[in-house]
Structure formats: structure tokens, C-alpha cells
């Protein structure tokens, strides 16, 4: 049974007052993560919106010790801290419970520049949680394309719409044979909370990717973040799933879509609500472009349905 939003604990690790845009999903998701992790944690960030909005030195909007590390190094930096706190505790120089070491990193620091170090941390199975808040572009630097940008999306470096589909990063992390992988998004806070609680209890490398609709990059109205997040899931453009020790299970409502109990909403409404797609859908090839986007979604659903059947 998924924890309801009313049952979430009262503790707040995201303090009031930060530099995010209105409607930004990053602090929204981080707030839920904080309720699950509690105060005994060490947070790593790479250059991103999350750093730009965390408060100027010496102020800090996140109620954890935080370190901003070089862009490509979330994986290796977190390993360094995780190994350091473990050995310091073994040597008696650190008292109390071991803190949870976690990365709060965007899609650039995960899919692209951070991929090598993250892959290596996963292969070493170091005891960390890597959160990717995925807004499907380099929003902090003015919305350039990333490996997470879906086909057909306008960015400032894909002025004619991106021609390639996005990577399935969560699946790539699963194929590193790590103990826990999950996807989540802000419209389903209880689902996210439960996944973080679970990840916290599992030793080794955990990967949680949170779809984070960005009003600036996606070009929708600022108050509609949660609605966009929900539409992404209902259209099947974002699947909620988790995998413990390599065994994939889908979470509601994605489980209904994947199993065929319920049809996904057609992608049209989701796409047409976003300027990043609809500005390119005014020409004569609009139907073909929407069909390409729908095709990528259908293919991913079909692939994940089949991949989930492999349980060895």
C-alpha cells in the first residue's frame, strides 16, 4: 500500500526560502526525499539548478551538510565520502549511525557528463543513493539538449526539434546489477517517499530517477508542474517502476498501462500542452512528428514489459 501524502512525516529538510523558479519540481521532490532520509545524511550536488538555488554562501536552504563537486564526478565523489565515513566509523573517529550519502543531480550530471563516474560507482556497488531529477534538458544553462531530451523536443541547441530518442537511463543503471533502481515523479509523492525509504534500508548502490517537469524548458504554465508530471505518467511517456535485485515491478498507474488493463492516454494532449513540442507541430508534418513521439513511447512500454519478464 503506497503511503498517502497525509501520512508523510512532518520533518522538513528543505528549508523555506530558496532560489528556485516558481513551480520548480526539484525542491518539491527533494522535500519528499528529505522526509524519507531524515537529517542524518550528506548531500552532493553538481553544477545545476539545485546548486544555483541552494542559497548563496554562507546561506543554505538544504538542512544537510552539502558539497558541490565537479560536474562529471557525482559517482566518484559520493564513493569517496561513503568510503571515508565507513572507515572513520570503523576507526572510532566518527560516532553514531552512518549517514546516508546521496547525490542530487540533474540529467546532465547523470546521463551525459556524469555517466562514466556513475557507471563506475554502480559497478563498485558503493553505498550511496544517486537521485537524478530529470527535467529532460540543461535547464540551468538556458535549456540545451541532453541525453534525456525526448525526440521532437525543442531546446536552444535543437532549434528544429531533437531528432533522436532519449536514453533509458534507469534501465542502463539496472543493467549494472545494482540492488535497487526506481523511477518516480512529483505527482506521486507517496510512491517517491516509499521508494526512498526502501533505498535507504538497502546497502550498496541505489539509483532513483525523478521526472521533473520544468516550466521554463518544457514551456507550460508555472502552476501546472504536478499536472504535467501526472500527464507524463498517464500517457506512458514516463513509467513508474522499481527493481529490487534486478526484478522489475511496475507501480500504479504505470502497472495498469504496461499490463494492458488500462490504455495509456494518447500522447497528443500531453505534447500539445508543452511549448517545447507544440511550437514544432504547426507545420504539415505535425501528424508524422506526433506519431514518432507516440512510437517511442509505445516501443519503450513494450520493451519494458518484456524486460520485466526476465527475472533470472
Amino acid at each position: 500500500m503506497t503511503t498517502s501524502i497525509k501520512q508523510l512525516p512532518d520533518n522538513e529538510q528543505v528549508l523555506s526560502g530558496n532560489g528556485s523558479c516558481g513551480g520548480c519540481p526539484s525542491p518539491m521532490a527533494l522535500r519528499i526525499v528529505g522526509k524519507a532520509l531524515g537529517p542524518n545524511a550528506i548531500m552532493l550536488l553538481t553544477p545545476s539548478c539545485a546548486v544555483a538555488s541552494m542559497g548563496m554562501t554562507p546561506r543554505l536552504a538544504y538542512n544537510w551538510p552539502c558539497i558541490n563537486v565537479c560536474f562529471a564526478t557525482a559517482g566518484s565523489s559520493a564513493s569517496g565520502i561513503a568510503q571515508a565515513v565507513e572507515i572513520l566509523k570503523e576507526k572510532g573517529r566518527l560516532q553514531g549511525e552512518l549517514p546516508t550519502v546521496f547525490n542530487w543531480v540533474g540529467d546532465g550530471g547523470t546521463y551525459d557528463i556524469g555517466f562514466q563516474a556513475l557507471s563506475a560507482a554502480a559497478e563498485r556497488n558503493d553505498n550511496i543513493i544517486h537521485f537524478c531529477y530529470n527535467n529532460e534538458a540543461y535547464s540551468n544553462t538556458g535549456v540545451q539538449r541532453s541525453g534525456a531530451t525526448p525526440r521532437g523536443s525543442f531546446t536552444t541547441t535543437t532549434p528544429g526539434g531533437k531528432r533522436q530518442p532519449k536514453k533509458n537511463m534507469a534501465l542502463l543503471m539496472l543493467e549494472h546489477d545494482i540492488p535497487y533502481v526506481a523511477t518516480a515523479t512529483v505527482a506521486y509523492p507517496g510512491d517517491l517517499y516509499d521508494k526512498v525509504v526502501k533505498a535507504k534500508s538497502i546497502p550498496g548502490m541505489k539509483y532513483i530517477e525523478i521526472l521533473a517537469p520544468c516550466y521554463l524548458g518544457w514551456q507550460f504554465d508555472m502552476p501546472d508542474t504536478v499536472q504535467m508530471s501526472r500527464m507524463a505518467v498517464r500517457s506512458g511517456a514516463w513509467l513508474l517502476w522499481e527493481a529490487e535485485n534486478g526484478k522489475i515491478s511496475f507501480n500504479n498507474p504505470s502497472s495498469f498501462i504496461v499490463s494492458g488493463i488500462k490504455d495509456a492516454d494518447p500522447v497528443d494532449e500531453y505534447v500539445m500542452k508543452q511549448g517545447r513540442f507544440n511550437r514544432l507541430l504547426k507545420g504539415p508534418d505535425a501528424a508524422q512528428r506526433i506519431a514518432e513521439i507516440q512510437g517511442d513511447i509505445d516501443r519503450q512500454i513494450a520493451f519494458m514489459r518484456e524486460r520485466a519478464k526476465i527475472t533470472i
Binding site: P58, P65, C66, I67, S76, G80, Q83, I87, K91, A120
Partner: protein, 376 residues
């Protein structure tokens, strides 16, 4: 009272023994010739329990130093090692380590840089990192490598600045020399346990390397600049106290040989400076009043010590194993001239680049070169 032990050992293994003696907590590592032997030795010591530390086998040098600085931010004593292109690959994180005031100690086994490929020694790799904010030692013997790593930890942790300990690939890293190992109690007396002023601590949430306005950024950089200069007395103090405890001395910021009455002074770093002692003896036998000023601390550049050590009216022959591209000659000559300017107009500076990519530098060759430079 335990006695010191003397063994035969390579420079690379001497470095690993120093890491063990320093009771390091975390060692991230990635292989590159000719550094790999250090990491292999450390990994073996961790595996067999000789060294109570974590070895993190990372996937590249950029990650090596990233893991190292992060572990240091968590409060650990951290060592790593690299060489040549590995050091260049770390460049961004070198800046982060110094700017973040994280006292990592790293060996760089000097090797010429790509392209074209070479495996052998010159100092282009370490000198190219001049402006990253690291303190840089350059060593000329296996013993000095061992001694300097221990001194480096002390200095780094006193002033929260990372320290690079450089020595030549193969000539030092892979050659056997006698190595004196002081008793562990003596080393513990010299290098107390690491007690960082601050670390990533959930009981005291604070941010490291966060965004700053110019009003905060500028003072951070100014402090780094002045603290690097302030490390010179700490380097001297570390060398002196190490000598008081162990009886061993490699010089402090500089190391002089037959310098007092010298009219011709060779100026160099690393293993070629050890060989130069023999060149000086050859020149003295030929009736030339020659001496050696070996630079042990490349950064901060010990201007005052050099200015006061050079004898009156000396001709200084700077032997550079590197290029100062865009200028004639090498980097050491340019550095030396800049500190002498306006302070020692009696000194003449001459410069040769030699030994690039491991070209052999024998005592006779260097003595002949110095002789030829005298006539220029």
C-alpha cells in the same frame, strides 16, 4: 627505543611505505605507467591488513581526485598518485581541491606528456599545474620521496592546502636505492592524527564549494593566495622537525651543494639534480668553482631563499627538463629570472633545455653542458 631499518627499495614502493606510515584512511587509485606500482603496493597493503584504509579502484584520474577530495571533505586523511596525462586529466579537480581547501597529498611520477607518446621523465606535467593552487615538492631520491610524503601531510593539514610530491618516472620510481625507515613511533610523533577543522557533518549542516557573490569569492581566492605563500615557513619547520626526530635532511625549500664559494651554480629539480652533484665534483676537479642549488619546493617558489642563497656575481646555469612554450628555454629559468629581477642584478642567468622525455642525463654530459654555457 626502536632502531631505524634500512632496506633496498624502489621510489614507488618507498611512496607506498610512506602512505602506510602516515596511517592514511582513504586511497582512490587508477593505473598509469610509471605510477601504477604505488597503487598496486597500496592495494596489496589494504588487502592484507597492513594498512587500515579503504582503497577505491576508480575508473579514471578525474574520478581519482574527485573521490580523494570528497573523502577529505568527509574528514579522512587521503592519498593518491598519478603521472603525466593522468595529472592533466585531473586538472579541473586540482583547482577544486585547492579552492575547496582540502588537504589531499598526491604523488605525481613525472613523465613527459602526450603527444607524441613517451613513457619517460620530464617535468612538463607537474609544471603545467603551476596555477592550480597546489603546493609542489620535487624529489631527487627514493629516501626523499618517503620523507617528503610525511612532511607533505603535515603541511597540507596545517594550512588546508593540497600538496603534490613529484619525482621522476623510472629513474626514481623503479630504481632500487637504500631506504631508511624510521620507527613508527617517531613518525607518529612527527605526524599527529588528522583532526580537520571542519568536515561534512550532519550534526552541523553547512555548504562546501557553494555559489558565492564576488564579495565572497574574491576573499576566498585572496586567502588561498596568501596562505600558499604562508606555507613556506611550515615547509621549513616540517623539514627541520623531521630532521630533529629522524636525523634525515633533504633540504627544505631548497637544497644546496658546494654552493658557498661557487661562481657557477647549476639550478635544477628532481633526479637530474642528484646526478648534478657528481657533475659539480667533475667541474671542481677541473678547477671551476661550481655549486648546485636544487629547488625542492617549486610552488610556492621560494624567492627569498633563492635570492639569499646565491653567491655574489654567480653565473646560474638553469637546466630545464621542460619547455616554456612561447618563450625561449624552460620554465624554471623564467621563474628564476622573475624572482631575481630588481633584487640581484649581480647574477647572470643562462638556460638549457635537456633530458626531455627521458633523454639520459649523465654527470659528464651535464658537466660538459655547464662548461659550454660558461663560454656563451
Amino acid at each position: 627505543m626502536k632502531e631505524a631499518r634500512v632496506i633496498m627499495d624502489t621510489g614507488a614502493h618507498a611512496a607506498a611505505l610512506a602512505v602506510k606510515s602516515a596511517r592514511v584512511d582513504v586511497v582512490p587509485g587508477y593505473p598509469i605507467t610509471p605510477q601504477s606500482s604505488i597503487m598496486e603496493a597500496v592495494a596489496a597493503m589494504v588487502e592484507n591488513g597492513e594498512l587500515d584504509a579503504r582503497f577505491i579502484p576508480v575508473e579514471g584520474e578525474h574520478s581519482t581526485l574527485a573521490a580523494a577530495v570528497a573523502a577529505a571533505a568527509a574528514g579522512a586523511r587521503v592519498f593518491t598518485a598519478t603521472s603525466s596525462n593522468g595529472l592533466l586529466y585531473m586538472h579541473e579537480v586540482l583547482h577544486m581541491a585547492a579552492g575547496g581547501r582540502l588537504p589531499v597529498v598526491m604523488c605525481n611520477v613525472n613523465r613527459g606528456i602526450f603527444a607524441p607518446w613517451t613513457l619517460w621523465a620530464d617535468q612538463q606535467d607537474s609544471f603545467a599545474q603551476r596555477d592550480t593552487g597546489w603546493i609542489q615538492y620535487h624529489c631527487s631520491s627514493n629516501q626523499e620521496v618517503f620523507n617528503t610524503i610525511l612532511q607533505a601531510f603535515r603541511v597540507a593539514e596545517q594550512i588546508n592546502i593540497p600538496v603534490m610530491v613529484n619525482f621522476d618516472g623510472f629513474t626514481i620510481s623503479h630504481c632500487l636505492m637504500p631506504l631508511t625507515l624510521p620507527p613508527q613511533e617517531d613518525i607518529d610523533r612527527f605526524l599527529p592524527p588528522h583532526k580537520p577543522e571542519w568536515r561534512l557533518d550532519p550534526a552541523h549542516p553547512s555548504s562546501f564549494s557553494n555559489v558565492t557573490n564576488a564579495a565572497e569569492y574574491a576573499p576566498f581566492r585572496q586567502m588561498l593566495s596568501s596562505d600558499i605563500m604562508a606555507s613556506i615557513p611550515l615547509v621549513k619547520q616540517a623539514a627541520q622537525e623531521y630532521k630533529d626526530i629522524t636525523g634525515m635532511w633533504d633540504g627544505d625549500t631548497i637544497d644546496a651543494y658546494r654552493l658557498e664559494d661557487a661562481e657557477v651554480v647549476a639550478f635544477a629539480v628532481n633526479s637530474m639534480a642528484a646526478e648534478l652533484r657528481l657533475s659539480i665534483d667533475i667541474l671542481r676537479e677541473q678547477g671551476i668553482k661550481a655549486g648546485l642549488l636544487r629547488l625542492r619546493l617549486y610552488l610556492p617558489f621560494p624567492a627569498d631563499d633563492i635570492v639569499s642563497a646565491l653567491p655574489q656575481n654567480a653565473q646560474v646555469m638553469v637546466l630545464d627538463r621542460n619547455y616554456n612554450f612561447g618563450h625561449p628555454g624552460g620554465i624554471l629559468a623564467a621563474e628564476l629570472k622573475s624572482v631575481l629581477f630588481g633584487r640581484r642584478s649581480d647574477i647572470t642567468v643562462k638556460n638549457r633545455v635537456m633530458g626531455i622525455g627521458g633523454v639520459d642525463l649523465t654527470r659528464r654530459y651535464m658537466a660538459a653542458e655547464i662548461r659550454a654555457m660558461m663560454d656563451e
